[in-house]
Amino acid sequence: MIRKYSMIINNEIQRQFTYRLNIAAYAFGNIAELVALTVVWTIVYRNIDTIQGYSSNEMITYVVFAWFFSFLTTTYSFEQNVARDIHQGTLSSLLIKPQSYIRYVMAVAVGRISIAFGIVIIQGILVFLFFSDVLIFSVDLPTIFLLFFMLVATFAINLFLSIIIGFIAFWTNEVFGLYYSLKVFAKFMSGTFFPIILLPVFFVKVCFFFPFAYTIYIPVQLYLGKISFAEGLRGFAIEVLWLGILYVIIRVLWKLGLKKYEGVGI
């Protein structure tokens, strides 16, 4: 049972090795994004000491870690894989096998990110070294553990969201524009580009209404010591709650979508 899905992960990792250059190319884009953000903030802080309680070093640390966390937990547009399975009918050959499609895609997603994950870690270390005189490194062991679990949950939330968005393909062919918009929106709301506290109150409330603020913003706040360990735990609990909700949504959409698929044969 478990061997089925670990085998899928294994195959997907091997597959990724055949696309080594592609992954390296991604890494280049990752860095470009970070450079843009740190340049902007360095300029902004030339004449100001603090913004909303963030010192210059705290802000750079925020941006670097938000960047690091977000690339550790990204699914690299996994929704497109799901949509492709549905549109191109690959789903048919997966459906006739004694396996669960949802578990299958989850296994593929895990295998798919593994090499890129390693590259992000290496990249992260290089970036930390580069920014070593500005970055704040003060974190205790329990916090590191909590952060680890929070980021695992963040990846799971991202994956569940990708699957949900991918399932839209059951109903329409024109999904790619929608994916793009949803992704930019989610990234913005998660606080990947800057602390969401800088936004107007209404938007902050929206960010906390959705799971996004808990995926990046809260973990980075915990790292920076801006929130207590207890508040971090609470954030993690909310992530887990969201995972439950998203899983239910996946099951419902899967049932409805499959009904359509069985009916139309796409």
């Binding site: 085998m7 597959r15 690959t90 050959s93 006739i96 004694p98």
Partner: protein, 330 residues
């Protein structure tokens, strides 16, 4: 007890109409006209254990739709189906472990990896024991002669090699029922023959129940004793291939070659319907029961006959005739 039992099975697809042009695209955003296509209409058939049945029909006749319902990918609009006692669209793992579907136009192997990786994955998915896996794989690889390509990336294989690997992947769990949807499509004659020979031997040896669709009459002629012809979603014929020819082609073909000067068309026309005419080589169609007499008459006439051959009509001609007459009807 039949392995496959299909009763009054129907499938209607719903789709939307779109008129050409930009304006109708815009209008389509608000209102779309629903249309229905009856892909399969009330079909009935039974297939016994070990049978190898050919599904014939023009494109869009409903062959693939039927196979998809039998595999549990599509839900029927109405009707019942039992395969090995299971209702396919319930997709019970016990059923799924006992059948396989191979689609010639779809790739089920991991494109970027050697076929072996897909085989190992299927071993886990279908829960095949190490011992059975090794035995089945050795046997299949031997039969299909693919031992040396198991470790080559699938995308670097030729279409013929890939098709062989697809078959291996589908057969590793020893399915009792096998659906082959155009397994020889796009292959060259040699590769087609290899696949055909393999299917034949596999069916004889393992008593696997097989449904095969193909556009190549050669496949059907070589493999299937029984054929089911589907036209416009309905079964047009279900029975022996041999009697299909008798029913739809109530004539035989006389191929006659002449010596010397050859003959004129007018000399030969009185013997039967001239199908092909060259002065030295003529093909005649004559009613089945008169074939022998006509041949004798020609031989005893003063025409310079060199050789004469009585043959059955080509199965492809028969099927073409059935299809074209059904197209004219609609």
């Amino acid at each position: 007890m039949p392995v496959i039992k299909v009763s009054n099975l129907s499938k209607t697809y719903e789709y939307h109409k779109k008129q050409p042009g930009l304006w109708s695209s815009v209008r389509g955003l608000f209102h779309r006209e629903k249309l229905f296509k009856k892909a399969v209409r009330e079909i009935n058939f039974e297939i016994g254990e070990g049978e190898l049945v050919g599904f014939l029909g023009p494109n869009g006749a409903g062959k693939t739709t039927t196979l998809k319902m039998l595999s549990g990918i599509l839900f029927p609009t109405s009707g019942e189906t039992k395969v090995l006692g299971y209702i396919p669209w319930k997709r019970e793992p016990q059923y799924q472990k006992q059948f396989a579907l191979v689609m010639g136009q779809k790739n089920q192997l991991w494109w970027d990896l050697p076929a072996m990786e897909s085989f190992i994955l299927n071993k886990e998915i279908y829960e095949v024991s190490d011992k059975d896996f090794k035995k089945n794989l050795d046997e299949l690889a031997e039969l299909l002669d693919i031992k040396d390509i198991l470790d080559v990336q699938v995308r670097k294989l030729s279409l013929g090699q890939r098709m062989k690997c697809e078959l291996v992947a589908a057969l590793l769990h020893k399915p009792k029922v096998l659906f082959l949807d155009e397994p020889t499509i796009g292959l060259d004659v040699v590769a087609q023959k290899n696949i055909r020979d393999f299917i034949k031997r596999y069916n004889q040896k393992n008593k696997t129940t097989i449904i095969l669709t193909s556009h190549y009459m050669e496949d059907v002629k070589e493999l299937c004793r029984r054929v089911i012809i589907i036209e416009e979603g309905k079964i047009g014929y279900d029975g022996d291939l041999a009697s299909l020819i008798e029913k739809y082609a109530p004539y035989k073909v006389l191929k006659i070659t002449f010596e010397g000067e050859g003959v004129k068309k007018s000399d030969i026309e009185k013997f039967g319907e001239v199908h092909k005419f060259l002065p030295h080589s003529i093909t005649l169609r004559v009613p089945r029961e008169k074939a022998k007499n006509v041949a004798r008459d020609i031989l005893s006439s003063d025409l310079p006959v060199d050789d004469i051959l009585i043959d059955e009509v080509e199965i492809s001609d028969v099927v073409r005739k059935i299809f074209s007459s059904s197209n004219n009807k609609f």
